[in-house]
């Protein structure tokens, strides 16, 4: 019984952090109808920046702040340098997609260069700052609590930004009718830049939280986590903010229960088993909107 409760708790904590990555897919998809396949590599970049600045003795929290800014900037730059020119030319969706795949390769490979971080696994500083709590035979680590609470707070902030601020309002307006948004004076490229920055920044925080729990990083880790978070975004309904949270939780809890009872090899594929089941029942995801095509 406590094994089950343990994996649920583990899943909830991880799932909340997945939501933080998923929201990056979701926001970009909402505005550009684009799946940003480079998002996972930006997550890895964020984790490596935390690692770097902690190694440089900056302190954990300052390292996270610097990493958040750098990762946000990297996402922003990726859009400016590789995607904005495509928008100017009115390119096809396929061009955007393959571009993001390419950017993902470049980031991952630069991280793996011997002269940079190397391809081997590295020890990541632990976020298990306050030891662990024991209830019966159940152990909850403080890194799990920190992961859950921090991710939850960030998701609340994100929800506030999207629903209550002027920037959030213009994000939603651009999402619904880009031309009308331009006509009322919205600089659409600036809204897109902001969206990429927000996505990159939140992926970096997820990178610190998740790897602070696992205490190990590798340059290619963004691929698996990125795909899982993407699955979470689709499970919840891509383009819908609270969908990312629910999707993240479903995937997180699902994979932890699967790992507990079916073995750890089942952990990563589980996200996609869940995805396939949900899509058969609800083709647009749990909270998805119908008819998503960019006009």
């Amino acid at each position: 019984m406590s094994a089950f409760v343990g994996s649920v708790i583990n899943g909830i904590a991880l799932g909340m952090a997945y939501a933080l990555i998923a929201v990056g897919y979701s926001l970009v998809f909402g505005i550009l109808r684009l799946i940003n396949f480079a998002h996972g590599s930006i997550y890895a970049f964020g984790a490596y920046m935390v690692f770097l600045f902690v190694t440089l003795k900056l302190g954990f929290l300052p390292a996270i702040i610097v990493s958040v800014i750098l990762s946000g900037l990297l996402a922003f730059l990726m859009d400016k340098v590789t995607l904005e020119p495509l928008r100017k030319k009115g390119s096809d969706t396929i061009a955007y997609l393959i571009t993001t795949v390419g950017v993902s390769f470049v980031i991952t490979n630069v991280l793996s260069l011997e002269a940079v971080f190397g391809s081997q696994r590295r020890l990541f500083p632990s976020t298990n700052l306050f030891g662990s709590i024991r209830i019966g035979n159940l152990t909850i680590q403080s890194s799990q609590i920190i992961m859950f609470v921090a991710a939850l707070i960030l998701m609340l902030i994100m929800t506030y930004v999207v629903n209550k601020t002027k920037m959030g309002l213009s994000m939603r307006a651009v999402e619904q009718n880009g031309r009308a948004a331009r006509l009322v004076g919205v600089n659409v490229n600036r809204v897109i830049s902001f969206t990429f920055f927000l996505g990159g920044a939140s992926a970096a925080i997820a990178g610190a939280l998740i790897n602070g729990y696992y205490q190990s990083i590798s340059p290619t880790m963004g691929t698996t986590i990125g795909l899982k978070a993407f699955a979470a975004a689709v499970v919840g309904g891509i383009g819908v903010l609270h969908g990312s949270v629910v999707g993240g939780l479903v995937v997180g809890v699902g994979e932890c229960i699967a790992a507990q009872y079916l073995g750890s090899n089942v952990r990563d594929p589980m996200a996609f088993v869940i995805l396939i089941i949900i899509l058969i029942i609800k083709p647009n995801g749990l909270f998805g909107k119908k008819g998503i095509t960019k006009v």
Binding site: R172, N177, A180, L183, V184, G185
Partner: protein, 234 residues
């Protein structure tokens, strides 16, 4: 004064505007009439930077704004209520109007503009928190016009504002156009309903397959045999 000189616009191989020139003086209502596909909407889209101008000039009070980015046009005091409404369907009525005031900073001015729009369209006030996509067609049209007023424009460009409205509402829209013009707004109006348009406008231009074929005093044009035959159903 809004002045267009010798404007040429292409959609790929289609030559949509073939040297269109027109001007709208401050305080005027000018109407642009013509059959479907004549290039009326294209003219407004060229002014607002939605489509690219191949050659020619758009000037506003002497300033060249040809091919300025769409999102900067509203800062020049030009506001467009586009053809087919183009409201933000998932945003509420209030949020749509707030977006109309996107470039405005002054809170008091924004509040006044809200007041004005709700005075003009009490229907919208009853539906402030309803998503725009669930409004009726006519209500969406009111919202599109209301939204275009939220930026306190000097120049209002209306693309078929009466489209899809019941006759009594059409009447109301035209009185409204006259009223906001009296309040000092300059208006360039596109209308299918040429009769009505000519009756509120001081001057008119007739567009035919991308060219201005006739122009002049609206009342006189309304008597012109060619106009009567082609656009007034006489």
């Amino acid at each position: 004064m809004l002045k267009i000189t010798d404007l040429n616009v292409f959609y790929g191989p289609i030559h949509a505007l073939k040297g269109v020139s027109l001007e709208v003086n401050n305080g005027e209502i000018v109407t642009l009439i013509g059959s479907n596909g004549a290039g009326k909407s294209t003219t407004l889209n060229a002014i607002t930077g939605i489509v690219k101008v191949a050659s020619g000039k758009v000037e506003l009070d002497g300033q060249d704004i040809t091919n300025a980015a769409s999102h900067k046009i509203v800062q020049h005091g030009i506001s467009l209520s586009p053809e087919g409404r183009e409201v933000f369907p998932g945003l509420t009525v209030e949020e749509n109007l707030r977006m109309g005031a996107y470039t405005r900073q002054n809170k008091q001015e924004i509040a006044q503009n809200f007041e004005r729009v709700y005075d003009l369209f009490p229907r919208l006030k009853e539906r402030v928190s309803q998503p725009a996509g669930t409004l009726s067609g006519g209500e969406q049209q009111m919202l599109a016009i209301g939204r275009s007023l939220m930026s306190s424009p000097k120049y209002l460009l209306l693309d078929e504002p009466s489209m899809g409205l019941a006759p009594n509402l059409v009447q109301m829209i035209f009185s409204l156009i006259e009223e906001i013009n009296k309040q000092g707004m300059t208006i360039l109006l596109i209308e299918q309903n040429a009769n009505m348009a000519l009756s509120v406008a001081s001057r008119a231009y007739v567009l035919e397959t991308g060219r201005v074929s006739l122009s002049g005093d609206a009342a006189q044009l309304a008597q012109d045999e060619r106009v009567k035959k082609a656009y007034l159903g006489a």
